[in-house]
């Protein structure tokens, strides 16, 4: 890994002691309450040990003691900046277990919401990644635009971050009349801002120099570590659940699965993981434009197929492509109104486990960049 670095550092005869440094758990660049125990030789990272669990709140135990409907709000709190996306695999799984058919209009609305949330999540990812690299302005622009998406979600569900909107069998309530035009206005705004961000940040020489050849994650390692989402696709692996095993209406839409190409540096470096997110935002815009055409004007009772009693029997591993990767729920239902077991397979958990592997041999400042490029949310790691 180290030989691909541009900068060669000659330590000469200076002997340094290895130092153990704590990063976090309350450090802004750890993106949450994550503690990294870093072993340093001078400025070079020789080992990283992530300590997680500061946000552990017994999600799975709660689920075993809650009814299937009561589980939905807890699921919101997994990846708390992509709550709409979180609810989708759970709702789909329960629907499959119960044999519920949902109308195409509801599926189209869900698709639009999932893609809007993907944009919102990637905006945060790119913005904070820029912050980690020292760019402050794109952060402000992207957060300003994310606000527009949150406004739509707030009008739909009443909440800005935690929605409890997509229920097994339907939605909480119908969309409001100007929903489609609002969403299309957001798409336009997102595209404009992304152009600016491209100019300001992505094509910026300082940013490129700062992120290329850092934290190189080869494709086979990424697969072996169970990475998913942009972290896996940044390494050039064409794996996207929306394409591999289409759910909702994704098989109807024309979109591209974005993979890293090693444009500036080596394939699978931090730059690639970040640029994949930029490209995915554009693909999400495309999907939204196609999906809103499938939402007819006529209103519909979106609660019509919500079952009065949810007590399925069976087992399912239900999964969806979340902004951060494959979010899966292994639901074991024993015919009672509460799940016997609900295991959450969160993308960030597997993605973070690769950090010690890819950060050895880089400098401490690069470690922050690598961590930012993985884009973790501690809410779903600690559960």
């Amino acid at each position: 890994m180290t030989e691909k670095r541009d900068i060669e550092i000659d330590f000469g005869q200076v002997h340094t002691e290895r130092m153990r440094l704590n990063v976090g758990p309350q450090h802004p660049s750890t993106h949450g309450v994550l503690r990294l125990e870093v072993e340093l030789e001078g400025e070079i990272v020789t080992d990283v040990v992530p300590h997680i669990g500061y946000l552990h709140r017994c999600f799975e135990k709660y689920c075993e003691n809650s009814t299937y409907v009561q589980v939905v709000p807890y699921i919101d709190r997994l990846d708390y900046i992509a709550s709409m996306s979180n609810e989708i695999p759970y709702a789909l799984g329960i629907e499959k277990l119960m044999g519920i058919q949902v109308s195409e209009r509801i599926q189209a609305i869900r698709t639009v919401l999932a893609e809007l949330n993907r944009i919102a999540s990637h905006q945060i990812a790119v913005a904070t990644f820029g912050m980690d690299a020292g760019a402050f302005t794109p952060f402000l622009y992207l957060f300003r635009d994310r606000e527009l998406i949150l406004d739509v979600f707030e009008r739909l569900s009443g909440g800005r971050l935690l929605y409890n909107y997509i229920r097994p069998g339907g939605l909480m309530r119908d969309i409001y009349p100007t929903f489609v035009s609002d969403v299309l206005a957001i798409v336009k705004q997102v595209r404009e801002t992304n152009k600016e961000v491209q100019n300001l940040l992505i094509d910026n020489k300082i940013f490129i120099e700062r992120t290329i050849n850092i934290g190189i994650l080869p494709a086979d390692v990424a697969i072996n570590f169970g990475c998913s989402g942009p972290t896996l696709r940044g390494s050039g692996v064409d794996y996207d659940l929306r394409r591999a095993e289409p759910y909702l209406l994704y098989d109807k839409f024309d979109f591209e699965v974005c993979v890293g190409k090693g444009l500036m540096g080596t394939l699978g470096d931090s730059y690639d993981r970040n640029i994949v997110r930029m490209w995915e935002m554009e693909e999400s815009c495309k999907i939204i434009e196609q999906a809103v055409k499938l939402i007819p004007d006529a209103s519909e009772d979106v609660r019509a197929s919500i079952p009065k009693k949810i007590a399925p029997k069976g087992e399912i591993y239900t999964k969806a492509e979340n902004p951060k990767g494959e979010l899966g729920f292994y639901i074991v239902a024993d015919g009672k109104n509460k799940p016997y077991r609900l295991k959450g397979r969160s993308p960030s958990f597997s993605n973070l486990s690769v950090l010690p592997y890819i950060s050895k041999g880089y400098m401490i400042a690069d470690l922050i960049i690598i961590l930012g490029s993985i884009d973790i949310v501690l809410g779903e790691i600690d559960r």
Partner: protein
């Protein structure tokens, strides 16, 4: 490849270590294997040309009241097929061979299963708690778990 074919392949290769396959309505089809041969079977599933299960999607610990268990959800990025493997171990002696050398992602997943269910993964290099504090007692997701009265002088049930 369908679950029947995978089951046939495994049965031919490992014989009695493959216990049963279940295809039931509402249940995702799964294959039950005996815990002793986990590592060999997983390596076989990972490396055979027509199987190539290179992606461990999920590893879940289970408490079946009388026994404990582990459920592996495997996926092949190349062939786009899935398989579910289940094992069961007695509660008194919950030892499972570790597959953290087969898929490195199993490292953290096994630590989580140890933390939550007390499953002992034999051969795991660093089997310590991951989500709860390192000095926590008991395994919270067991059905018979009783939470402690206090932890370091803090009242636990608030």
């Amino acid at each position: 490849m369908t679950i029947e074919n995978i089951f046939e392949r495994l049965k031919k290769e490992f014989g009695d270590a493959i216990l049963s396959e279940t295809v039931e309505q509402n249940f995702e089809p799964f294959i039950r294997i005996s815990p002793q041969n986990v590592v060999d079977i997983m390596l076989f599933l990972r490396d055979e040309e027509d199987l190539k299960f290179d992606y461990l999607a999920c590893l879940s610990g289970m408490d079946y009241k009388e026994t404990l268990g582990v459920v592996y959800h495997l996926y092949s990025i190349q062939h786009k097929h899935r398989v579910t493997i289940k094992i069961e171990v007695p509660k008194e002696d919950p030892k499972v061979p570790s597959i953290s050398k087969v898929w490195r992602t199993a490292d953290w997943h096994e630590r989580e299963a140890y933390d939550m269910f007390g499953l002992i993964f034999v051969g795991h290099e660093n089997l310590i708690r991951i989500l709860t504090p390192y000095d926590w007692e008991g395994h919270p997701l067991r059905k018979d778990y009783k939470q402690p009265e206090e932890y370091h002088g803090l009242k636990v049930p608030y």
